[in-house]
Subunit: 152 residues, 2 copies
Amino acid sequence: MIDIPGTPGTLTGLVLRISQCVFAAGSISYMVTSGGFFSFTAFCYLIAAMGLQVIWSFGLAILDTFALVRKKTLLSPVLVSLFVVGDWVTSTLSLAGASSSAGITVLYFGDLGSCSFEAECWKYQLSVALAFLCWITIAVSSLTTLWLLASA
Amino acid sequence: MIDIPGTPGTLTGLVLRISQCVFAAGSISYMVTSGGFFSFTAFCYLIAAMGLQVIWSFGLAILDTFALVRKKTLLSPVLVSLFVVGDWVTSTLSLAGASSSAGITVLYFGDLGSCSFEAECWKYQLSVALAFLCWITIAVSSLTTLWLLASA
């Protein structure tokens, strides 16, 4: 199997996983610390999607670290298939969560004139922005793993 | 190149492209015929994303028909690369459009108790549902073309 940046079990792969964790955790923390998130279904869904992303990416970060330390590869077809399915499910859920929450924040910030939740407003926006950043990193991973599987 | 269902230039590929066109056009028509869509940024974005999808899928449907009639294949690496990029861009935009609009419809139907736009309400919902169906068909195409490219 050819070695593409972001390949599981490599340093770039580990960096991708860690950035996914950081962005997803950041998105959750800003959303959760804003008081009124639970009255919006889209925001609750965003937290769930980002929570799943943190769990998935943290698990794979540990696996990458193990592979790097023990100098093993993680490129058996079964493992790569697992990565493809997990990356694909989480990247789809992350994009859907970020987009639906973006629809709400644009509605309140743009369409309805201004956000009437004062202090919470920028937290919503920052949470959505971090969710999109998280999606970009997981999209890179899902493309990389699918390419590895198909070219095996 | 191996022949996967949905491969460009085959009958299943043509059926996929036509269903993408039908779902996207349906989504646009329900949204456009509902009076108040232009006051929601997310709905306007959905129409734009579905419009791009109709153009892309209609073009490829014509290409598939041409290939079937002339018994030619559309599997040169350059062509498949073009399909991959186009399918990926439109599928990402379609999912983002459908999700952001879903966030709005769930907000009005669920969070705020009931949709206060009477006759328009079910049109918004139907438009969003058709957009998600469109995304499913374009996601199949984008996975197929990426697999073809990587396994070439």
